[in-house]
């Protein structure tokens, strides 16, 4: 059974691109265009991995992260933060954010695939 990856990203083109790459690697993908939907889909679908953007309308990546990690059912899902802000101090120095990996935008697709596969244990 193919692993499922949830992409929480408000930038539609980026989300589609990431989906295409991961699908070409044989993974199943879900997308959410904002944090609110992202959290709902996480609780509903329980994906194997989440790619999370930070700067999003309605609900920011930080909130999504906290909600996902504070839910016992979803707290073990690995989260990779994919953000233009990924190297900012605000993320790095936030003790509540203990994301499994960071990928700064624009990332190298090869790097993306490598990181995702690593955290899926493939």
């Amino acid at each position: 059974m193919a692993k499922r990856v949830l992409i929480i990203e408000d930038h539609r083109e980026t989300a589609e691109m990431i989906s295409s790459i991961l699908q070409s690697e044989g993974l199943e993908t879900l997308t959410a265009e904002n944090g609110q939907i992202g959290v709902e889909k996480t609780f509903a679908e329980k994906p194997d991995l989440i790619l999370l953007d930070i700067m999003m309308p309605i609900m920011s990546g930080f909130e999504v992260y906290q909600k996902v990690k504070s839910n016992p059912e979803t707290k073990d899902i690995p989260i990779i933060i994919v953000s233009v802000k990924v190297s900012d101090r605000s993320i790095k120095e936030n003790p509540d954010i203990g994301a499994e990996a960071y990928l700064p935008k624009p990332f190298d697709p090869v790097e993306l695939v490598k990181t995702v596969k690593k955290h899926l244990g493939i």
Partner: protein
């Protein structure tokens, strides 16, 4: 001849005394009725004549205009009076017959030896004549004081008497003349001495005058000095006043300048503050822009990957070549955006996050070279790697260091003409790993070697347009190398003689 005034005065004084005494005697005789009145009257007349002459003499002495004959006349009359007086008082019998001696003496004393001799001779002849005339009866004889005749008739007695008188008279004449001469000599000597003393006095006077002249000169000099001191003092006072005025003026000028400068500084501070705000806004804007630019770049890179890897269907070599160019340019865009972001972080004083992990410089260089090797080949540039095989791993941020190498190699590619060569060397140097990027490009002027690491610095702004840089690459390199505790610098032999960029990274032992 010159008659001594002092002697004359003495003579006149004496004569006054004698005349007064004579008068007194005559008056006494008259009172005592020893003589007759008639001869007494004649005596008074004679005395009066003598007095007149004496008065004349006295007056001329006082006027200091003495007729030369006057002393002779006076003495002659004196003598005549004495002779006449003797004649009427016993003549040759009179015991006062020596009396002419006094006249003779005075004449010698007063005038000279010759005169006294003449007087002596005259007296003697007068006495002799008187005797002879009385004796022959030519003239009558008068008895003295009414005393009967004694011996005027006895020639023997008279002869002795006359001889005595002769010697007496002449002795008086000679003695007085001698005395006079002696006195004159003394007087001459005295005069000479006086003259000498006068000369000395003149000399003294001359010296005194000379002295006075000297003192006058000194006084004049002192006055001149005083005058000059006063003038100079006045000049100094004036200069001082002028100077003080100038100082006041200058102080005022300085104060004005100071105020102007303070004003300018205030303005400058305001300007600087405004500029700082503007600069911060610019930096924040750059940061924002670089973030915004990343978002669209992400799908571009992703889809390029998908197409180029054939995951979205086969593409022909021509399409692949074109897409490869797009990919490289997007990489370039990516690195420029990263540079802008880093620069804006420096500007804002934000620390650049460094993700330290054991890294291999060899791998970083090889990956960088791999990314540009096609580009280099297309431009006919020979890219050579010379990396020490047993290069140790160091703690570093591979992303940052890769950006340093990329920047340096990218610069080398930009500034090296076709057919040139780029060599990347790496080796252990002391406690550091040294990385060199050497090219055969346009080189760097010595004056610019230090400046090229400054922000936005371009050696020649025309190279910016031709090579597509914004002058931040080396600034970023410097900051990123510094983050690793290393240093970076450039060397060049000069324009068109190639460049060499070197950076050192310290090899740190991993801490347990």
């Amino acid at each position: 001849m010159q008659v001594d005034l002092q002697k004359l005065k003495f003579y006149i004084y004496t004569k006054w005394v004698v005349l007064t005494l004579a008068c007194a005697i005559i008056i006494l005789e008259l009172i005592m009725r020893m003589v007759d009145l008639a001869p007494l009257l004649s005596s008074f007349l004679a005395l009066g004549g003598l007095a007149i002459i004496n008065y004349w003499l006295n007056r001329s002495v006082k006027r200091k205009r003495i007729p030369f004959f006057l002393p002779y006349l006076a003495l002659s009359i004196d003598l005549l009076f004495v002779i006449v007086a003797l004649y009427f008082n016993g003549g040759i019998e009179n015991t006062w017959l020596f009396f002419p001696v006094l006249i003779i003496f005075v004449s010698g004393y007063l005038l000279d030896l010759q005169t006294s001799l003449i007087f002596a001779l005259s007296s003697f002849f007068a006495v002799v004549a008187m005797f002879l005339l009385e004796n022959t009866g030519a003239i009558p004889h008068f008895n003295a004081y009414g005393i009967p005749t004694l011996y005027w008739k006895y020639p023997a007695y008279i002869k002795d008497y006359l001889i005595g008188m002769f010697f007496l008279y002449f002795a008086a004449a000679v003695l007085s003349g001698y005395l006079n001469r002696r006195m004159q000599e003394s007087s001459l000597q005295l005069e000479k001495a006086l003259k000498d003393s006068n000369i000395s006095r003149n000399e003294l006077e001359t010296s005194r005058k000379a002295m006075l002249n000297v003192m006058d000169d000194l006084e004049n000099a002192r006055e001149q000095l005083d005058q000059r001191v006063k003038e100079r003092t006045a000049q100094l006072e004036e200069a001082k006043a002028t100077l003080e005025g100038k100082v006041v003026e200058r102080t005022a000028d300085l104060e004005a300048s100071r105020k102007a400068i303070m004003h300018m500084m205030k303005d400058l501070k305001e300007d600087v503050a405004k500029l700082q705000v503007v600069d911060r806004m610019k930096t924040e804007f750059l940061s924002l822009v670089s973030h915004e630019l990343r978002t669209p770049l992400t799908p571009i890179k992703g889809y390029l990957y998908l197409i180029l890897t054939g995951k979205m269907g086969e593409i022909n070599p021509e399409q692949k070549n074109a897409l490869e160019i797009v990919r490289r340019q997007s990489e370039h865009l990516h690195s420029m955006i990263d540079n802008i972001l880093d620069i804006s972080r420096f500007e804002l004083g934000k620390p650049i996050p460094v993700n330290l992990e054991p890294i291999s410089i060899k791998q970083i260089i090889e990956e960088t070279a791999e990314a540009v090797v096609i580009q280099a080949k297309q431009r006919g540039i020979d890219l050579v790697l010379d990396i020490q095989s047993d290069l140790p791993t160091i703690l570093g941020d591979s992303v940052k260091l890769k950006r340093v190498v990329t920047n340096l190699v990218g610069n080398a590619l930009k500034f090296t003409p076709e057919g040139g060569a780029i060599k990347v060397k790496s080796f252990v140097y002391g406690t550091n790993i040294q990385v060199e990027v050497v090219d055969t490009g346009i080189g760097i002027d010595k004056d610019n070697l230090g400046k090229i690491f400054e922000k936005f610095y371009q050696v020649d702004s025309s190279t910016t347009r031709a090579t597509g840089g914004i002058g931040m690459g080396l600034t970023i390199c410097k900051e990123l190398v510094a983050l690793h505790g290393g240093k970076i610098w450039a060397e060049s032999e000069g324009i068109s003689r190639g460049s060499k960029f070197i950076f050192l990274l310290p090899i740190k032992k991993e801490e347990n």
